[in-house]
C-alpha cells in the first residue's frame, strides 16, 4: 500500500520558428537539437519501459507551437537534413580519432545515437507526435496543453479575450493532434492570474499548475500546502509545485546535473575543432555553433577529462536512487502529519533532460524502473488519475504567480521588454473589435481575419520577452515581435477598409502557417 504519490511533469516547449525563406536558419536549430537530445531520447525511454512492462506515469505538456513544428513538413524534412549532416560528421570523427581510443569510443557512440535518432524519426513517419500519442493511448503518459503560443497570461489582465483565444486555439489544436480533449494545461511560464481558471473551465480543462507560492499564498490558506491540489471557485483544480524535489535536480548543493562525471555542455567540437574541418557542419556564414558532439565530462577543473559513458550511467542510476529515497522519506513524513496521502508534484522543463543534462533521460528511466520495482511507499500518478481517486479537495483561490525569475512577472516586464505591452494590448483590442464586427465572413475576408489572429498570437509568445530579458538573441526576439505586430496592423487596416491584398495575404499565410483551422471568432 503506497503512502503517497509522485507526479512528474515535463513541460516541453519551443516558440514557433519556421523560416521557409531561408535555406539555413540558425534559430531552427533549437528544434533540431531538442529533437535529437530530448524528444527522441524520451521516446526511447518510454518505448523501453513499455517493452519491459514497467508501469510508469508521466505528465507532459507539448505546447501547440511545438506540436505544430513537429508536424510541419518543411521542418521535418529539414530535420532529416540536419541529422544526416551530423551522421556524416560523426563518421568523419570516428576516422579522425583513430589514434585516440578514448575519443573514438565517443565518436562511435554519437554515430550510433544519431543513426538511431534518424531511424526513430523515420519510424514515426517523421512526426514524433505519433509517438507521444501512442504513449498517451497506452495509459502511461498524460499529455496536457499550454497557451496556443505560450503567451504570458498575467500580462493579459486587460485583454482577457486574448487569454480566451490562447486557450481555445490550444484546445482545438490539441484535439486535432491527439484525438481527444486535453484534461490539463501547463499555463505558459506557470503564470497564473486569478480568474483565468474561469476561461479554462469554459474550455473544458480540469486542472493546471502553479509554482509553490501560487498555492501557499492562496486564499484561504491551503490546509495541505502544496501536497494536495486545491479547487478554484470555478471547480478547476490547481496543483502546486514541490520545491524540495525541484531543488534536487537544480540546486548547487544537491543538484544532480553538476556531477563531475556528467557530460560537459560547453565543450563542443563545433567550437573546438579546426575551422576548415568543421565549416560544413556549422552555420554557412561561419558562425560556430554546437553540433551536439561533446567529448568531455564536467571534471570540476579547467583540465577537462574525456567523458566516460559507463561511469556517467552509474551516476545516473545512483542519483535516481537518491531521488527516490528522498521522495520516500518526504512522503512518509508528510503522511504522518497529514493523515492522508501526500502528492508530490515535480515539474521540469523537458529540454533540461538530454539537451542541457545529457544523462537526464537516463536518470528518468532509472527512476521509473526503480519506483516500479524497488519500493512500495510511492506511486507514480497523473493529475487526472489523482483527481478521480481524490475528488474532494479544498476550495482556494491561488495567488498570482509564475515560475520565472523572482516568482512573478518581472522576467517579462522590465526595462528591456516592457515596451511591447502597449502594442500587444492595442492589437488585442483591435482583434476583439474585428471579431465583433465580423460575426460572419467568407472567402478572403475570413482568411484575413484568421491570419490576423495567427499574427497576434505569434506576437504574444512569452519567449520573445524572455529572450529580450536574458540579453542573447535579442535582435531576433525584437524582430519577431515587431514583424507579427506589423503584419497584424496591416491586416487590421486592410480588413477595415475592405481592401485586402490577396497576394501578400497568401505570402504570410504560407510563412506563418500555424493553426490551419483557426477561427478568429474565439477572440471575443
Amino acid at each position: 500500500m503506497s503512502k503517497g504519490y509522485l507526479c512528474l511533469v515535463l513541460h516541453s516547449h519551443l516558440p514557433f520558428v519556421r523560416h521557409p525563406e531561408h535555406e539555413d536558419f540558425l534559430e531552427e536549430d533549437w528544434l533540431y537539437e531538442a529533437i535529437t537530445e530530448t524528444y527522441v531520447p524520451l521516446i526511447w525511454m518510454m518505448d523501453g519501459l513499455l517493452r519491459d512492462k514497467v508501469d510508469f506515469r508521466l505528465t507532459m505538456s507539448l505546447t501547440p507551437t511545438l506540436t505544430a513544428m513537429l508536424q510541419d513538413r518543411l521542418l521535418q524534412d529539414r530535420y532529416i537534413k540536419h541529422i544526416s549532416g551530423l551522421i556524416e560528421l560523426s563518421h568523419k570523427e570516428v576516422e579522425r580519432t583513430r589514434w585516440e581510443p578514448q575519443f573514438q569510443k565517443l565518436a562511435i557512440m554519437y554515430l550510433n545515437t544519431f543513426c538511431r535518432a534518424r531511424d526513430t524519426f523515420e519510424y514515426y513517419h517523421r512526426d514524433l507526435v505519433n509517438a507521444f500519442r501512442n504513449f498517451q493511448n497506452a495509459g502511461k503518459l498524460e499529455i496536457i496543453t499550454c497557451g496556443a503560443t505560450h503567451g504570458f497570461f498575467p500580462m493579459m489582465d486587460v485583454v482577457k479575450q486574448s487569454v480566451k483565444a490562447q486557450v481555445k486555439v490550444a484546445v482545438a489544436s490539441y484535439e486535432k493532434a491527439f484525438g481527444c480533449k486535453p484534461r490539463g494545461i501547463w499555463l505558459p511560464e506557470c503564470g497564473y492570474n486569478p480568474n483565468d481558471d474561469e476561461i479554462l473551465r469554459e474550455a473544458g480543462i480540469r486542472y493546471f499548475f502553479t509554482d509553490a507560492h501560487g498555492v501557499l499564498h492562496g486564499t484561504p490558506r491551503p490546509k495541505y500546502g502544496v501536497f494536495a491540489p486545491v479547487y478554484c471557485k470555478s471547480g478547476v483544480a490547481c496543483f502546486g509545485r514541490d520545491l524540495e524535489s525541484s531543488k534536487q535536480v537544480w540546486s548547487s548543493i544537491e543538484g544532480y546535473p553538476g556531477d563531475y562525471y556528467y557530460r560537459e555542455f560547453y565543450r563542443d567540437i563545433g567550437f573546438d575543432l579546426d575551422y576548415d574541418y568543421i565549416k560544413d557542419y556549422i552555420h554557412p556564414d561561419g558562425i560556430r555553433i554546437n553540433t551536439g558532439i561533446k567529448y568531455y565530462r564536467i571534471t570540476g577543473s579547467s583540465d577537462k577529462q574525456p567523458y566516460e559513458p559507463d561511469i556517467a550511467r552509474e551516476k545516473a542510476a545512483e542519483h535516481a536512487g537518491n531521488f527516490m529515497f528522498n521522495r520516500q522519506q518526504q512522503v512518509e513524513y508528510l503522511h504522518g502529519i497529514m493523515h492522508k496521502k501526500p502528492l508530490i508534484v515535480s515539474p521540469y522543463d523537458a529540454e533540461l533532460y538530454g539537451h542541457w543534462w545529457y544523462e537526464g533521460p537516463m536518470w528518468l528511466d532509472f527512476l521509473m524502473r526503480k519506483v516500479y520495482h524497488d519500493q512500495k511507499s510511492i506511486r507514480m500518478i497523473t493529475p487526472s488519475e489523482y483527481l478521480n481517486e481524490n475528488p474532494r479537495n479544498q476550495v482556494v483561490t491561488p495567488s498570482m504567480s509564475s515560475w520565472g525569475w523572482k516568482g512573478y512577472s518581472e522576467m517579462w516586464v522590465q526595462g528591456c521588454n516592457d515596451w511591447i505591452y502597449r502594442h500587444l494590448h492595442a492589437a488585442s483590442d483591435q482583434m476583439t473589435e474585428l471579431s465583433s464586427r465580423h460575426h460572419d465572413s467568407h472567402g478572403i475576408k475570413r482568411r484575413a481575419l484568421n491570419q490576423a489572429l495567427r499574427e497576434l498570437l505569434l506576437a504574444q509568445s512569452s519567449d520573445w520577452a524572455f529572450i529580450m530579458g536574458t540579453g542573447t538573441h535579442v535582435s531576433y526576439a525584437v524582430k519577431r515581435t515587431k514583424e507579427h505586430l506589423l503584419r497584424f496592423g496591416r491586416l487590421y487596416e486592410e480588413i477595415k477598409s475592405n481592401n485586402i491584398d490577396e497576394q501578400w495575404l497568401a505570402e504570410i499565410e504560407q510563412a506563418d502557417n500555424i493553426f490551419p483551422e483557426i477561427d478568429y471568432r474565439v477572440h471575443a
Binding site: L216, H217, R221, G255, E410, M411, L486
Partner: protein, 356 residues
Amino acid sequence: MAILRKIKSGVKKMISGSRKSVTAKRAVSSSAGKKNAQKKTKPTADRTAKRAELKQPEQAAKKEFLGVSETAVGRMKFSTPEAVRSASRSMPTELPAAYGRDRLVINPRDPYWIFSYWEVTPGTYDTLRGRLGDDFYKAKKVLRIYDVSNIVFNSHNAHKYFDIEVGPDALNWYIHVQEAGRSWCVDLGLRLPNGEFITILRSNVISTPLDGPSRITDEEWMVPEELFARLYGMGFGFGQSSPVGKTWQERIRRELFSGILSSPGLSSSGSPVKVPQRGKKRKFWMVVNTELILYGATEPDAKVTVQGVPVKLRPDGTFSLRFSLPDGTQVLPVRGVSADGEEERTVTPVVSRETK
C-alpha cells in the same frame, strides 16, 4: 538584479571563452552592434522606464529566490549564437508611436510593483490647455494611486491614495506600493499650482498578489497553525528539520528572501549557469592541437587501406584522411591493390609528434 547580471556575465564569458575563429568573433561582435542599434529604435518610453527601475529599492533585489534555474535552463534552449542577417522587407519596420486613443493601463508585476503605461492624445491635451490656460504649463504631471481594495471605487471612497510625480515625457512608470494583496486604481492627472488635481485618464483596477500565506483560514476546514507551518516550510523545500515555530511567517519569509533558497547552482561548476574556469581565472589563453592529413591518388577502381582500414576513393581516384594527432609515433601503411588484384603498392609514412 545582481544574480541576473551574474548569469548574464557568465554567459558572455562562456561565449568569449569558446570563441576561437576570427569569423566567429566577427559574428558575435556585429550582433552586439545590432543590439545597440535596436536599443536606439525603441520608443522613448523605455528610457523613462529604465529610470524608474533604477529607483527600485532593495525590495526587488531581495527576492531572487525563485526561477533562477528556470531562467538559466530556458536560456539554454536558445543557446545557438546569433546569426547576422539583414532585414529585407517591404513592410514598415517600426511600430506606431501612438494609437490615437486615450488610455492608461496598469498591470501588477509582483506584490509590490505595478507596471503602468499610457497614451494621451493631442486632442485631450488641447482641451485641457484651453480649459486651464497658463495653469496648464505650470501644472505637474502626476500619477495618483488609489487603494480600492474591496470597494466599488467612485473617486471619493478610496482607503488611501498617494501621488508620484512623473516627468513630462514619461509614457510608462513602475509604481511601488507599500502593501501586498491589495486592489489599486490609478489616475494620470495634473496637479495645479493651487494643489488642485485634475484627472486626465483613469486606469483599470487590478489586484496585487499576497506575499505570504493568507490570514483567512477556511471556516469549513480548520487549519492547525503548526501543521500548516510545517507543510508551508516543506513546500518551500526546507525538509524535515524545518524549524518553524511561532514566528514562522516572518522567519520563512526571511529565509526565502535572504537567499537560503536562492540562486540554486550559481556558484557551482555544474550549474546551468556555469562559468568556464578558463575564462574566469585568466584572460589570456591558448590551445594548440595537431591533426594529420594524409592524401594520395590511385586508379579510381583500386582498393586502398590505411592501417588496414578500407578507404573510400573519390570518383577521380584521390583520397584524403584526417586524423587527430596525439603525442607519439604513428606508422601508416597505405596499401593499394588494383581492381583485378594483380598489382599492389604499399607506402608507409611514419609520423611522430612530441610536445615540448
